[in-house]
């Protein structure tokens, strides 16, 4: 892989490949309320350094990287929990402003973080958690085989798309409504230009 991409790109890619391409191929970015709130939430998570909470050591804003996946990023929180062999094992925790989603996006992102940590530390990480701001609750995520395969596949496809400078066409759907890039994407802009021109010249 020519370039490493931010972990967030993977999530964008899973949400909508075009959104991911607009950001990483066309370099479009627009902040809306949701992204601003997400940023503030992260700012808070990023504010602390290492500490202990409930007897568990935790490290905040942990830089991550995987050459194999071609990803880099920052984990919000990595807890160090005792493993079965008595040694401390990293346990990534990601903060999300919204509520748990039916789709796999958040879990894939967390799993990718875990896979980065595994590559960096040479350990196995069986699980982590996502903290959702809406119900203010943690959700456990087990990094099972299916999820890991999904991460590998999505990373490969995403790199191919971005390195090829490709921007796939919009697939108009429900997701477009909540999309921060709808203004730049213009999913509705697909009418035939020639007939539009002729009408304008009437």
């Amino acid at each position: 892989m020519d370039q490493t991409l931010p972990l967030s790109a993977l999530q964008h890619y899973l949400y909508c490949p075009r959104q991911c391409a607009l950001i990483h191929v066309e370099k479009v970015w627009e902040e809306n309320r949701f992204t601003a709130e997400g940023r503030l939430l992260h700012l808070r998570a990023d504010s602390g350094a290492t500490g202990r909470r409930g007897g568990i050591a935790e490290d905040r804003s942990v830089p991550l990287r995987s050459d194999r996946l071609g990803l880099y990023g920052v984990a919000d929180v990595v807890e160090l929990r005792p493993g079965p062999d008595g040694r401390e094992r990293p346990y990534p925790v990601e903060y999300k402003r919204g509520s748990p989603k039916v789709e796999d996006w958040d879990r894939v992102q967390l799993c990718a973080q875990a896979m980065c940590l595994e590559e960096m530390l040479g350990v196995t990480i069986p699980e982590g958690a996502i903290f959702y701001g809406k119900p203010r609750r943690r959700e456990r995520v087990v990094f099972e085989k299916v999820l890991r395969v999904l991460v590998e596949k999505a990373c490969g496809d995403m790199h191919a798309m971005i390195e090829g400078g490709e921007v796939p066409p919009a697939e108009v759907g429900k997701r477009c409504r909540g999309c921060s890039l709808a203004g730049a994407c213009m999913p509705g802009a697909s009418a035939r230009v020639e007939s539009y021109l002729l009408k304008g010249l009437e």
Binding site: E26, M186, V193, Y196, L201
Partner: protein, 343 residues
């Protein structure tokens, strides 16, 4: 959807702009005058001797705010860009297209089609609203010339034909432009387009409003990452913002020209607001310039229905939308460039 933000126009000579946190601070000799949060602005236009701190410029660059420096009379001097400008993939696609005579002619035709249609719409609107007060026959003749041009542009044309249509349409339109001026004041007599310097008040107003339009269009193009210098209709000439000029064409008649007409016809500007120099050049005074700037800002807030996207949006956002549609056309996302047709 992107929001329409304000442009900060600074006309007071000797003003110093600096950054304080997330704010632009405006200082004159008398001390601090204003302060604006950066996030409510989409650009800063400085007229004449206005100074900006490098940190403010850097912040604007990063936040995607366009900063332009013009002479006191509105001639473009320089624009400031931030650390990242443009999108190299988009630009390469744009250059390839500009090198292709067939594709260039296709895009030029779209741009001219809208200019012709919008010029005709301005003339028709005048006939409808003031048919009894203007030289309706002359304007009607100009409309038929534009009808003819529009008819020919319904077919694909090569670049020479496209330019020919443009020239013919512009000549017919400016021939009767003076008829749309209803003010009695002889200061607003119009004998044709002239510039650099403008030789009468109407040309002075037109040139000034075109400069404001150019700033907005150029910054919209830069914001979407496309190169404002490489046009399709306006060929490359060092220092000339070819694509910005292309994209301006569709906006000139209904946005710039009509604004000038209504400023004159509603007596918001007066003949005495203009100064004639020894050379014959005509310039507006400070108060007139302020009137024009305010009217321009206000006009950009008017809501219109975008004919292609079928969405209501403030006119000021149309520059950004058109820049994006141009980028889409360049990247081949769209099967052509859909210009803005004014109804």
């Amino acid at each position: 959807m992107k929001k329409l933000l304000n442009t900060l126009y600074v006309t007071s000579q000797g003003t110093y702009l600096s950054k304080d946190g997330e704010c632009v601070v405006v200082r004159t000799e008398d001390g601090e005058k204003h302060r604006f949060p950066v996030h409510v602005l989409d650009g800063i236009v400085c007229f004449g001797n206005v100074l900006c701190s490098p940190f403010l410029l850097g912040h604007c660059g990063e936040a995607g705010l366009a900063v332009s420096f013009l002479t006191e009379r509105g001639r473009f001097l320089a624009g400031v860009r931030g650390p990242q400008s443009g999108n190299v993939l988009l630009r390469r696609a744009q250059y390839r297209l500009a090198d292709d005579p067939v594709e260039s002619a296709r895009l030029a035709r779209a741009v001219i089609a809208a200019k012709v249609a919008n010029s005709r719409a301005v003339l028709r609107r005048c006939l409808r609203d003031h048919g009894d007060r203007v030289h309706a026959a002359a304007i009607g003749r100009a409309v038929s010339v534009l009808d003819d041009c529009a008819g020919r542009l319904r077919m694909p044309v090569d670049m020479d034909e496209a330019r020919g249509m443009e020239g013919r349409a512009a000549a017919a339109y400016f021939e009767v432009f003076g008829h749309m001026i209803l003010a009695e004041d002889p200061a607003f007599a119009f004998g044709g387009r002239n510039r650099r310097p403008p030789l009468d008040a109407v040309n002075c107003l037109l040139s000034f409003v075109y400069t404001l339009l150019a700033h907005d269009v150029r910054s919209a193009l830069e914001a979407v990452g496309i190169d404002p210098q490489v046009g399709f209709l306006h060929r490359d000439r060092p220092g000339r913002p070819g694509l910005a000029l292309d994209l301006m064409e569709e906006f000139r008649p209904f946005l710039a020209d009509r604004l000038v007409l209504s400023l004159i016809n509603r007596a918001e500007v007066r003949g005495r607001g203009f100064v004639r120099k020894e050379s014959g050049a005509v310039f507006m005074d400070d108060d007139t310039r302020k009137v024009v700037l305010t009217a321009w800002q206000k006009r950009k807030q008017d809501e219109v229905m975008h004919p292609y996207l079928k969405e209501r949006l403030p006119l000021g956002l149309a520059f950004h939308i058109q820049a994006r549609l141009m980028a889409r056309a360049v990247r081949g996302d769209l099967d052509g460039y859909p210009p803005f047709f004014w109804k």
